[in-house]
């Protein structure tokens, strides 16, 4: 049924290459978000990115740059506010979500409605990834993965117990800001893949699925990476053959993995 030479198509090669890199980056960063109980933070940043893209479109500036700037600045500002006011992080996330959408919708209405570009950022267009698009993805992946390798013990310590981490001499505040920046740049470059509206699922679902198995950190990360890379790989292939939206299929595969793991864990491995 499947053509063997599908992998010879340049756009499929680029889609798979970028997809797998993004899957790895999102999963690695996402595990810390989930452990910090900030699963929705990714969603909030992606909505801020929507506002940033609308600003770029409105001002005729390359929207990825405005999305990156707007997301990082507002995410850091809100992280600072959260630390100084001790307000619950979920309420801060709600503010970010609303603000991002508010800015986006207002500017879109000023620009006479949605453009094709805006739609591709909202819902993803992995099959249209160009060679130029690959560079920022690769650069961000290298930055994020090397930072995580360098600081993973400290990030993990902060996620486990922020107070203890502080006492042991870790500069929690600085590392939290660094982590916020890493989350923001990961999400911005990932938008091309699954789109702003679904990016959070790539960050959260594989990690929550892995947590079902009650394993240590390294095994949990491995399970999570397996699910996310499989979802992206299979999602791209299936979307090509069945002419479906790749972002939707990737999320559905990932969610199916969660449901399968849940059933496996609760009825067979209990």
């Amino acid at each position: 049924m499947f053509e063997v030479d599908i992998f010879s198509y340049g756009f499929i090669q680029r889609a798979l290459f970028s997809g797998l890199i993004i899957a790895i980056t999102c999963t690695v960063i996402g595990l810390f978000l989930v452990l910090k109980r900030q699963s929705l933070f990714g969603d909030a940043i992606s909505h801020m990115a929507f506002g940033g893209i609308a600003i770029g479109t409105f001002l005729n500036i390359y929207p990825v740059w405005t999305a990156m700037g707007f997301s990082i600045v507002t995410a850091l500002a809100i992280a600072k506010m959260r630390q100084s006011t001790k307000l619950p992080s979920d309420s801060m996330v709600a503010i970010m979500l609303s603000l991002g959408l508010g800015v986006g919708v207002t500017l879109v209405s000023l620009s006479n409605g949605f453009s094709v570009d805006l739609f591709s950022f909202l819902f993803g267009s992995i099959l249209l990834v160009s060679v130029q698009d690959l560079y920022p993805i690769i650069i961000v992946a290298i930055i994020v993965v090397s930072m995580i390798i360098l600081y993973y013990k400290k990030f993990l310590y902060i996620a486990f117990d922020e107070e203890q981490a502080k006492i042991s001499g870790i500069d929690v505040e600085k590392l939290n800001y660094l982590f916020t920046i890493l989350v923001a740049i990961t999400i911005i470059v990932s938008m091309k893949l699954v789109g702003i509206l679904l990016i959070s699922s790539l960050i959260v679902i594989p990690n929550v699925t892995a947590l079902l198995f009650n394993q240590g950190f390294k095994k949990t990360l491995l399970i999570s990476l397996s699910l996310s890379t499989f979802s992206v790989f299979a999602g791209v292939i299936l979307s090509y053959y069945y002419n479906l939206a790749p972002s939707g299929i990737i999320v559905l595969l990932s969610a199916s993995g969660f449901i399968f793991a849940y059933i496996l864990k609760t009825s067979i491995l209990k």
Partner: protein, 241 residues
């Protein structure tokens, strides 16, 4: 020279006084039990000593160094906070959690040796959330020991532990104090445990009511009476003395 010196420390939170002119010294090798009711300022005092709160008046020195100026000293202090519920799903094995504190380029064998000392070696691959309360407390001690601390500060560490786990826990602290020469500072509501394990006692309720040898405190009925009246909430647990 005392190991720790707390000099006229006062702290206010939202203009309400939490600590008032607290002064005392801790000698190297002490096993100090700090008693006081809820809200007496024990945790606040620890947070000041650990550099988590800096807006206090007065001075705290460790090894004759002002802790506000010499932050590196905190690496030599192990801290076990009041029992918090550990997320059952947090994906860390006992060995992974203890290794979090391991300095770079240090052999992992140290972690295994420490786990043997706290009698958790056989549990090294278990997920932290699946251990009992007493075991979790011992893991936190193991994590603190990785940095070879000179002081261990424990904030009501045996709350919610059954009597056997409490005894095991205190025996471990006694061993660390005597064998590893670690100075222990721990807060408790349990006067019996303080009487059994500490060599010095501090009574605090915003102000310091007493600081001195255990024998001096417990031999004076007036001390206990005054303390009980000032605190009103001391829980006298039946302990297997």
């Amino acid at each position: 020279m005392p190991l720790v010196s707390v000099q006229s420390v006062s702290y206010k939170y939202n203009s309400e006084s939490v600590l008032e002119n607290v002064s005392f010294d801790i000698e190297e090798g002490d096993f100090l039990g700090i008693i006081g009711p809820n809200g007496a300022g024990k945790t606040t005092l620890f947070h000041c000593m650990l550099g988590l709160l800096n807006s206090y008046s007065g001075r705290i020195t460790i090894l004759n160094q002002d802790i506000k100026k010499y932050k590196k000293i905190f690496k030599k202090i192990g801290y076990i906070p009041q029992k918090k519920s550990i997320d059952q799903k947090f994906p860390l094995t006992v060995e992974e959690l203890v290794s979090l504190s391991l300095p770079r380029n240090t052999s992992k064998n140290i972690v295994l040796e420490i786990l043997k000392q706290v009698r958790l070696f056989t549990m090294k691959d278990k997920i932290i959330g699946q251990l009992s309360g007493g075991q979790q407390q011992r893991v936190l001690i193991a994590k603190a020991l990785v940095n070879n601390p000179i002081i261990l500060i424990l904030d009501e560490p045996t709350n919610e532990l059954d009597p056997k786990s409490q005894n095991d826990f205190y025996s471990l602290l006694k061993e660390l104090n005597e064998k590893n020469k670690i100075t222990i500072i721990w807060s408790s509501h349990d006067m019996d445990a303080v009487n059994k394990y500490a060599n010095k006692v501090s009574c605090i309720n915003k102000r310091m009511f007493f600081h001195g040898d255990k024998g001096e405190f417990f031999s004076s009925e007036d001390n206990i009476k005054n303390y009980s009246e000032s605190t009103m909430q001391i829980h006298m647990h039946s302990h297997d003395l």
